[in-house]
């Protein structure tokens, strides 16, 4: 069975306040890094999956992303196949 590697990036929707990102942005100033205009924190989820073919692998990964890894009320996600 072919094995697929994928990365799912989960981000807060642009309209949702990210207080942790804001706190990191203000820490950037204390570090002495100037000019950071915006900093928003998301998640990267690396997945390895066995599936008969790539389209089936994508179908499963999309279901996984939409139904578990991200909450569509507050988050967006993107899927990247790493070895296709």
């Amino acid at each position: 069975m072919p094995r697929f590697k994928a990365r799912v990036l989960v981000r807060l929707r642009p309209s949702v306040l990210d207080p942790a990102g804001e706190a990191a942005r203000s820490a950037a100033l204390r570090l002495g890094v100037d000019g950071v205009q915006s900093l928003r924190i998301g998640k990267a989820v690396d997945v390895q999956l066995e599936a008969p073919d790539e389209s089936e692998a994508r179908r499963r990964l999309e279901q996984l992303s939409d139904r578990l890894l991200a909450n569509p009320v507050i988050e967006d996600w993107t899927l990247e196949m790493l070895n296709s």
Partner: protein
């Protein structure tokens, strides 16, 4: 007449709920381990506060798949009363029994304090005993209690008269000061404050009593 109290790995307010409901208010309770599926004989189910499944991924995201919650969907659909407190509220939104999501508090702090709430709607049985516009003093204890939803969802909540409780001094940045909501039918309530911690005179106020009594009345 009996109340089920769901216990997830990581729940930590399940015993508080039992003490309040059974010890203080004399209502029979039964613990429901998350793997149970039999809700027969129960009149109401409480999802207590805590950190179900360690709150991994997102608060309530893993708990949503617990076998007991698949039974709870039918239970709620048939009009059974479901109360989600704090982490239980987060679980109800992830499960889809209530709309919206609970996100990181605006100022990042875990907030543990008494807070003043106003009854926004006495339409549902949960808050009828207090009456509309009444003030309650209940403790909150959460890091992720900022209620968020889309503009359309907020309008739907307002149209359905489903906003149950509002903060007087919004501590976490929740949209429209929302501290608790019901479903449109009114049998499911989720709220961030802890009514079970305001039932015993030994530990403070008693403003949570009528809310818990509504589990059976």
């Amino acid at each position: 007449m009996s109340i089920g109290v769901v216990v997830f790995p990581g729940s930590n307010c399940d015993r508080d709920v039992r003490w309040a409901a059974e010890g203080c208010l004399g209502m029979a309770t039964r613990c429901l381990w998350h793997e149970e599926t039999d809700l027969s004989g129960l009149d109401a189910v409480v999802l207590p506060g805590g950190f179900s499944y360690g709150d991994y991924l997102r608060c309530g995201a893993i708990a949503r798949f617990a076998p007991v919650l698949q039974s709870l969907l039918d239970f709620a659909d048939n009009g059974g009363r479901v109360l989600g407190i704090c982490n239980g509220f987060q679980v109800l939104t992830e499960l889809g029994l209530l709309p919206g999501a609970l996100t990181r508090n605006r100022d990042l702090h875990f907030i543990c304090e008494d807070t003043v709430l106003q009854v926004a709607s006495a339409r549902s049985p949960w808050l009828r005993a207090y009456g509309a516009k009444a003030y309650l003093n209940l403790p909150i204890a959460h890091g992720e209690g900022r209620f968020q939803c889309s503009g359309d969802t907020l309008k739907q909540l307002q149209d359905d008269d489903a906003i149950a409780l509002r903060y007087q001094n919004n501590p976490n940045g929740s949209i429209d000061d929302i501290a608790g909501i019901t479903n449109s039918a009114g049998n499911v309530l989720g709220l961030m404050p802890h009514p079970e911690r305001a039932c015993d005179p030994v530990t403070g106020g008693l403003d949570g009593r009528e809310l818990l009594q509504a589990l059976l009345n």
